[in-house]
């Protein structure tokens, strides 16, 4: 069926096909990515677990997990959100469903290919820009450029006069992703070396987090809360503040990933200051969204999409408080390179980001397929396993990180640090496995929704129907 649409006329493709394809792809990558994560965590907790083969060595598998969740789950969920939210906000249809379908198909194929090669050891040796440059060109050509074109053309051809906050973020982020990706991979295209190469690698990594993941996740909340609660956004002006402060404050602190390296000190200081200022868009965002909930807090309990979104927004509070201050020299020296950073990364990607995308995918798939969620019980199970699993992971790794930091101060043999963090490695594995099992439940629930969910009558929203099962 997909082949029929891929090679047919754009007009013949049903509205929402690209978004649905992206939605289910993203959930599948979520299953794969978290499964890999659980597998890796087991190796850290139980070192002789599947050890002794090159393909299953931690060093080969670690980054396959990271890139699968970032470019598979998170980015595809973003693409799904863009495919259905951008047109609605412009009171129009997606510019090209066909391009969207091709985008998703090529995305799946190139990501699978890239990850398989990475698994085999084909790596550039640079964190986050691990793919060798031919694959980078494929990523740019098949993933980021088609997505940006689709989103931009949909906004340009809109039938409303104004552009809503969500679409500012979607447009800016898709554009910036292309620039960040191409510039960030310059060390590979032009074989830059030394500290320049190290710095550009982290400039890329930082800006993928700050100019792609953060704004798009936030933009989702700007849509879901007003849409589902029926309240208008609390403040358009704060939305402006949020948007502009992300662009200026989040694009500049890349050097804060390399505070211990011999980079120019002025650059590190500049980065630190800008990094603390990230609290400005953070507080703007959290306050704007939470104040939009006024009078509708009962929906936090009663409605699954609102619950996911608000939890994601709430997690942004510790995330940005941590992030703003942990990148100052006074704190960074202690926690750099420890499990605290791993915990922070998961707070951002598994906490803040995942909860928001899950809301978007839940809402989007139900709306586009015109089917009510198959089972509230399974939805709740997904939510609680995800939240408790994530929290276990986050708390255990934060503690482990603080212990590792102490290892930098006290002259203990390094092995004492490894012994001390062992129970937290087990806790982390348990938390991550809970997350993995929750994704399986979610996949089943959405599949059953597609097949047996109650049909939503035309003109109604999913939240207007009662939950079943």
């Amino acid at each position: 069926m997909i082949l029929k649409y891929l090679f047919g006329k754009n007009e013949a493709i049903p509205v929402g096909s690209a978004a649905i394809f992206f939605g289910f792809s993203s959930i599948l990558w979520f299953v794969i990515g978290t499964g890999l994560g659980s597998f890796n965590a087991a190796k850290l907790a139980f070192p002789d677990f599947v050890t002794g083969t090159e393909m299953f060595a931690f060093g080969h598998m670690r980054q396959v997990h990271v890139l699968a969740v970032i470019f598979g789950w998170i980015s595809m969920a973003f693409a799904m959100a863009m495919m259905y939210i951008t047109p609605i906000l412009g009171n129009t249809r997606l510019w090209s469903e066909k391009l969207g379908l091709w985008n998703c198909m090529m995305w799946n194929i190139s990501l699978a290919l890239g990850l398989t090669l990475l698994w085999m050891g084909v790596t550039s040796g640079r964190e986050y820009s691990d793919f060798p440059w031919p694959l980078d060109l494929a990523v740019a050509a098949f993933i980021s450029i088609p997505l940006a074109v689709n989103v931009w053309m949909t906004i340009i051809k809109r039938r409303t006069q104004g552009i809503y906050t969500t679409n500012w973020f979607f447009a800016a982020a898709t554009f910036m992703l292309i620039i960040v990706f191409l510039v960030g991979n310059l060390p590979e295209y032009f074989h830059l070396t030394g500290l320049t190469e190290a710095y550009m690698t982290w400039w890329f990594a930082h800006n993928v987090l700050g100019l792609w993941i953060t704004p798009v996740a936030a933009a989702i909340a700007y849509y879901v809360i007003p849409k589902v609660t029926g309240n208008p956004l609390y403040s358009h002006r704060i939305g402006h503040l949020h948007f502009w402060s992300i662009v200026v404050f989040y694009s500049t602190p890349a050097a804060h990933h390399l505070m211990s390296a011999p980079l120019p000190e002025w650059l590190k200081s500049f980065a630190s200051v800008e990094g603390v200022l990230i609290l400005v868009p953070a507080i703007a965002f959290v306050s704007n969204i939470l104040l939009t909930m006024q009078g509708k807090w009962n929906m936090f309990v009663e409605n699954l999409e609102v619950r996911f979104t608000v939890v994601g927004v709430l997690l942004a509070i510790p995330l940005n408080m941590q992030g703003g201050f942990q990148q100052t020299r006074s704190i960074n020296w202690y926690i750099h390179g420890t499990g605290w950073m791993v915990a922070h990364a998961h707070l951002a990607l598994l906490g803040f980001s995942t909860f928001l995308e899950a809301a978007a995918v839940y809402l989007g798939l139900q709306t586009l397929m015109k089917r009510k969620l198959y089972s509230l019980t399974l939805g709740n199970l997904h939510f609680w396993l995800l939240l408790i699993g994530f929290s276990t992971y986050w708390i255990s790794m934060t503690i482990a990180g603080l212990i590792q930091g102490a290892g930098k101060i006290y002259e203990v043999p390094y092995i004492d640090v490894v012994i001390a963090e062992h129970p937290y490695m087990i806790a982390r594995w348990l938390g991550g496995t809970m997350v993995f099992s929750s994704t399986l439940i979610w996949l089943y629930n959405m599949w059953m929704t597609a097949r047996e969910g109650t049909v939503i009558p035309a003109g109604r929203m999913p939240s207007e129907l009662a939950y079943e099962r």
């Binding site: 070192p47 050890t51 790596t123 030394g194 690698t201 662009v247 050097a255 490894v418 012994i419």
Partner: protein, 320 residues
């Protein structure tokens, strides 16, 4: 896009993003480009070769297209004993180091010395070359530090790669360049950093790297979050190949609480005597040892001269 606000907004966006990229990318590039390579940096660059990550000449990161670091004890031309010196041998067809292909990488002072006295630009990839690190009596203006520079011994002394390799014993040849590729491929840098951080870290793991220690090295592989000891100066703390062998085959042989995975597969098929290694038997004997059924663990096979583990151990032991 009809609103005037969007025209103004787009231009503001371009200005903001452009300014941000200028400050964070363009300006630091001036500072970084002005760095002068140190002796440590020259050693690292010459040992690792052109690139230790993915490249067209080594797409599966097997360690191809890499130089050798050789301890020269006898003059390759005359055969007489000389003061031992490390030479960096680039066999014919090996990509030349970045300081040779882009001399600006070396920095002011070192660049002039290397080109004029070292004659590095005469090196040709097809013929291969042998490089040495030379101390000059010229000093850097900053801190009066003496400058080290690169010398192309093939041009200045007539040493060819084959001659140097012929007169060297296998134990004097370090395959550290290929070893760094192993380090990158096997993902050692995901757990072991190459960057001691601050204060007590320096006391345990050694001096942090200086600006100039990285010129021409690619990828720098500082490491990610540390789950094992920093390795920047591990060769100075632990140069025992026997320990390394045991540790790589199964870390828990020498460090029972280690969480490092086993790298026994890097031994390949055969050991140093050409005998096939029976991994299954080794593992079951090890399990028996762990359960207390036998009192000593099984012996780790000596690695073959051309195995991947040889390259990796050469690299690690060379991290002085």
């Amino acid at each position: 896009m009809n609103f005037r606000e969007y025209k103004i907004g787009s231009r503001m966006f371009g200005l903001a993003f452009g300014l941000s990229m200028s400050i964070t990318l363009l300006f630091p590039s001036f500072d970084l480009a002005a760095s002068i390579v140190s002796e440590v940096g020259l050693d690292k660059q010459l040992t690792s070769g052109w690139d230790s990550g993915w490249q067209l000449s080594d797409p599966f990161l097997n360690g191809l297209n890499k130089p050798l670091k050789v301890l020269v004890r006898k003059d390759p031309k005359s055969g007489e004993s000389i003061e031992p010196v490390y030479a960096y041998v680039y066999p014919a067809g090996t990509s030349l180091p970045n300081g040779v292909t882009h001399t600006a990488n070396l920095g002011k002072g070192v660049e002039e010395l290397s080109v004029k006295e070292g004659r590095i630009k005469e090196a040709k990839k097809e013929n291969g070359a042998v490089f040495l690190i030379k101390q000059s009596d010229k000093a850097q203006t900053f801190e009066n530090r003496p400058l080290s520079y690169m010398e192309n011994a093939t041009a200045t002394k007539g040493w060819t790669p084959d001659e140097v390799l012929k007169q060297a014993a296998d134990s004097d040849i370090l395959h550290a360049g290929s070893g760094k590729t192993m380090f990158v491929r096997e993902g050692c840098w995901w757990c072991h950093t190459l960057l001691p951080e601050q204060t007590q870290d320096w006391q345990v793991f050694g001096a942090p790297p200086m600006l100039g220690d990285f010129n021409g090295e690619s990828p720098t592989a500082f490491g990610s979050d540390r789950k094992g000891p920093d390795l920047l100066h591990v060769g100075s703390r632990n140069a025992s190949r026997e320990w390394m062998m045991l540790h790589f085959f199964n870390p828990r042989l020498v460090q029972p609480h280690s969480i490092m995975p086993r790298f026994d597969y890097l031994w390949g098929e055969v050991d140093a005597d050409g005998k096939k290694i029976d991994f299954k038997k080794w593992r079951s004997e090890y399990d028996e040892y762990r359960e207390g059924k036998i009192t000593t663990p099984p012996e780790v096979p000596m690695y073959a001269k051309n195995s991947e583990i040889r390259n990796l151990i050469d690299f690690v032991v060379n991290l002085k």
